[in-house]
């Protein structure tokens, strides 16, 4: 097991390096920092500024300098605002993680519960309905589902009942700022549902398939033959084993949160990583986009690793390979 982990870790480092080169080249090739082409900037000023940013050096040199700084934890200064990148990026990250983890919890809880019931009552009306609905969940793109939620649960709801418990944008009402109070929850429910709907569809199918697999195995028969109650057989023997493959996906999904909520954040004006990316990339501010990209990549790669290791820990049969 330890050797497996070390081998995986050793591949992670060159992979991160290669990705950092791809990211650097791609962002440099596609951004034209607004600060350098703004009107009213004399050519000497522009030249001096280019020098200051190190843009007169060769691409390789620029990359090496950037990489050195980022490894040391110096994320740089925004071209647009001339301020440190890290404080804004940190708060965007924190906002996204809060929303993402909340949605993730909803996704896993609902998905696993539906999957288990579907498998235990295979081909019942519950199973058929949830299978049918899971296709709908997979087919509704988040940008449309988010708008429909806003339309029905906020705008129409207000017309019908004279008020609504939900909000369509931002994280807090003006003047209120809190960690996890009622006001925050009322802002968070709709975007979280928007994120969760596809996940619930996927996890319920995954959990159902995994449960069916386990339910037909020999140790289930053994457990029943020993006279263990059906409830205990399902909960202690079946669900726990069926959760193993689901755990891998759940870990991968946490890693994907950081860079994965772009659309939902845009629909609900949630000031997180997605909005940070679209605005800074729109400005051509590569100094803000590059650290953003690296954080996203590292998060995906690290949770990939965690998922692989978890799988080996939870299921000793995998380790032999």
């Amino acid at each position: 097991m330890l050797r497996y982990v070390i081998r995986r870790l050793l591949w992670t480092i060159p992979m991160l390096l290669i990705t950092s080169i791809i990211v650097f080249v791609a962002i440099k090739a596609t951004t034209n920092p607004a600060a350098l082409r703004g009107p009213g900037i004399s050519s000497e000023d522009a030249l001096r500024y280019r020098e200051q940013l190190g843009l007169d050096k060769s691409g390789t040199e620029q990359y090496v300098i950037w990489l050195k700084n980022i490894v040391r934890g110096d994320l740089g200064i925004s071209l647009e605002t001339r301020q440190e990148v890290w404080p804004d990026l940190r708060s965007a990250m924190w906002n996204t993680v809060r929303l993402g983890l909340f949605a993730w919890l909803i996704t896993i809880t609902l998905g696993v519960t539906i999957g288990v019931i579907s498998a235990v009552r295979q081909y019942s009306w519950f199973d058929n309905t949830s299978t049918g609905l899971s296709f709908v969940g997979l087919s509704v793109p988040p940008f449309f589902f988010g708008l429909v939620l806003q339309l029905v649960l906020v705008l129409k709801f207000q017309d019908w009942f004279g008020g609504t418990p939900f909000y369509t944008s931002q994280m807090n009402s003006p003047g209120e700022s809190c960690g996890l109070c009622a006001d925050r929850l009322r802002h968070m429910v709709l975007p979280a549902l928007t994120i969760a709907v596809q996940g619930v569809a996927i996890y319920s199918r995954l959990m159902r398939a995994s449960m069916l697999d386990v339910l037909s195995s020999d140790y289930m028969r053994t457990a029943r033959a020993k006279g263990i109650s059906e409830r205990r057989v399902i909960v202690r023997h079946a669900v726990r084993n069926a959760l193993i493959p689901v755990t891998t996906f759940a870990a991968l999904d946490i890693g994907a949160i950081i860079g994965g909520l772009i659309i939902t954040e845009s629909v609900f004006q949630w000031p997180g990583m997605g909005m940070y990316f679209t605005s800074s990339f729109g400005d051509g501010d590569y100094a803000r986009v590059l650290p953003w990209m690296m954080i996203v990549v590292v998060s995906v790669v690290v949770f990939n690793l965690i998922a692989d290791i978890l799988y080996g820990v939870l299921d000793p049969r995998i380790r032999v390979e």
Partner: protein, 307 residues
């Protein structure tokens, strides 16, 4: 097929068996019919509406809700929203099908070569797939849509900014991995089988073995993947358009950019958002059901874990 005379029972061909399995999947059958209808109406809009997408109905009101004359209402220029949605569907469906076809061909070839040859080609391919998975799809697509603006070579190779060609090329570049993985898996499991050995013993070349003996066995998974790629491509194109990086509405209307243009009017004119949105959901839902039916029909051995 010539059936020997005197036989009372016709032999069942594999395709007939597949058709029977497919017919049993009622939702897939219905979805197939609905998709045909959608295709028909989208490419021949005159069947459903008398208006052209750019024609202003001077008798109508701006932003009118649904009515008999305009089932989906009218827009800011008094044009018929149904006509615009059907017109937009042409591009969305074309993009979906083009991306799926191109990426499946690329994926099948790469997967076949990697699976058959093995060795460094195989491991290089798997590593590249790893890399592609580390950067979120939407992020890398957004970044690359800005390439033609800054570089002339990109404009020539990929297509100009906001063009249909650019979006199709970029999507196709990132949609082949799934097909490649599946085809690679099938080929890996088949290449040691006796029938391949027999073909080789008879003097068949590698190309012939690959094209005549191995790839035909992948047709099932390839067709299923092709179908599901259409759905994914339609959604991804719409997502890009929604964020302002897809096909530009000045070039051509698509479901994505119609929806994107209307999102600010959700409160005042919800029909402008609902019309293209429902078109996307209905199409993608039908394609997904169709894919599920095809999987049951063509690929009965495959375990159905992820929808």
């Amino acid at each position: 097929m010539a059936v020997a005379q005197g036989l009372t029972a016709k032999p069942l061909s594999p395709s007939l068996l597949a058709w029977r399995r497919f017919r049993r999947h009622r939702l897939a059958m219905v979805s197939g019919v609905v998709l045909l209808l959608i295709g028909l109406f989208v490419f021949v809009p005159s069947l459903l509406t008398n208006f052209d997408q750019n024609q202003r109905d001077t008798a109508a009101v701006r932003y009118d809700g649904p009515s008999w004359a305009h089932p989906f209402g009218t827009d800011d220029l008094k044009a018929d929203v149904l006509a615009r949605v059907l017109q937009g569907g042409q591009v969305s469906l074309k993009v979906g099908m083009a991306v799926a076809l191109i990426s499946v061909v690329i994926g099948a070839l790469i997967g076949a070569i990697a699976g058959y040859r093995g060795g460094w080609i195989d491991s290089a391919m798997m590593r590249v797939t790893d890399l592609f998975l580390a950067i979120p799809l939407l992020v890398i697509l957004i970044v690359l849509t800005r390439l033609p603006e800054r570089h002339d070579w990109a404009e020539t190779v990929l297509g100009s900014k906001g063009s249909i060609r650019l979006i199709v090329t970029l999507l196709a570049l990132f949609f082949w991995m799934q097909t490649a993985r599946i085809v690679r898996g099938v080929i890996l499991s088949l290449k040691e089988k006796e029938f391949v050995e027999a073909a080789r013993a008879l003097g068949a070349s590698d190309t012939r073995i690959l094209l005549r003996h191995l790839l035909p066995n992948c047709v099932g998974p390839i067709v299923v993947n092709l179908t599901l790629s259409i759905a994914a491509a339609i959604i991804t194109e719409s997502a890009l358009s929604f964020l302002g990086f897809g096909v530009q509405s000045a070039t051509q209307a698509t479901w994505g950019n119609l929806l994107s243009a209307a999102k600010g009017q959700l409160e005042s004119h919800p029909h402008m958002v609902l019309a293209p949105g429902i078109a996307i959901v209905l199409t993608v839902l039908c394609v997904n059901y169709l894919g599920d039916g095809l999987r049951d029909a063509l690929d009965p051995k495959q375990q159905r874990t992820r929808a």
